[in-house]
Symmetry: C2
Subunit: 121 residues, 2 copies
DNA sequence: ATCGTTTATCGTATATATACGATAAATAAA
DNA sequence: TTTATTTATCGTATATATACGATAAACGAT
């Protein structure tokens, strides 16, 4: 069982030794929002958070979409960094990158807490 | 000063008498994520949360984009329901719908707290 | 080695997003 | 009333997203 390439361009949100995750810059935050910007992908994330990890085929069963379409949605989620996939035999197993998910959530919290600079557009 | 039509199709997330906002269904949640799925729009939301309300022209000054493009981004934010606009003379004044923003945030919190049903896709 | 299972990718059609300049519409100011 | 200011909308070009069926690729099972 080996880890797949995520294809994501940044790796923001990984916490340092402070215990809390670093806030995401606007571009990274927007990238994750965009990944969550489709009902099917929201359902996928919700399911993965609930069951911890899940193979592609199970997600295909849950959604009213063709296998190829689900695979495409999973690819978008992987590219955002929010989801990670591992190959296990002929199967693909997916799970949420909880560290990044927490960083995302924390960034939202900070939206109303402070008014810092958050990187170039 | 009159309120503009938002163009949004749903009005989810408005709390009942329980004190906490209702969680958003997947479609509504995705709609808001999509609205936040561009760095310029993240910047706009961040700014509006910081200054409470702001006219279009000021946002145009802040972003490295043409006025028409900023207006388009503001329209997308309005259509999501996350931002509301009022016309004041020749100006347009924008602010965040904080109730919906809180509902959005609360929905994210619930992602790891429970495993409820969240409406049809 | 062949076959079945699982999943990614390709090809494709259609729709939506993103950017800009030009222009219209609304109002304040002169 | 004319002019300036402000902002939305139109037109347009290009890019990305979304959906599907078909097919390839990887692997386990026989």
């Amino acid at each position: 069982m080996r880890t797949q390439n995520t294809g994501q361009t940044q790796n923001a949100g990984i916490h340092d030794d402070s215990g809390t995750p670093d806030p995401l810059d606007d571009k990274t935050f927007a990238r994750i929002c965009r990944a969550l910007g489709h009902p099917a992908r929201v359902k996928i994330i919700r399911h993965l958070l609930a069951v911890d990890s899940c193979i592609c085929g199970r997600i295909v069963e849950i959604l009213p979409l063709a296998q190829s379409t689900v695979s495409q949605h999973l690819k978008i989620l992987k590219e955002s960094g929010l989801v990670e996939g591992t190959v296990d035999g002929p199967r693909s197993c997916y799970c949420v990158n909880r560290e990044l998910f927490e960083a995302f959530r924390k960034t939202m919290e900070d939206f109303t807490e402070s008014d810092q600079d958050h990187g170039k557009q």
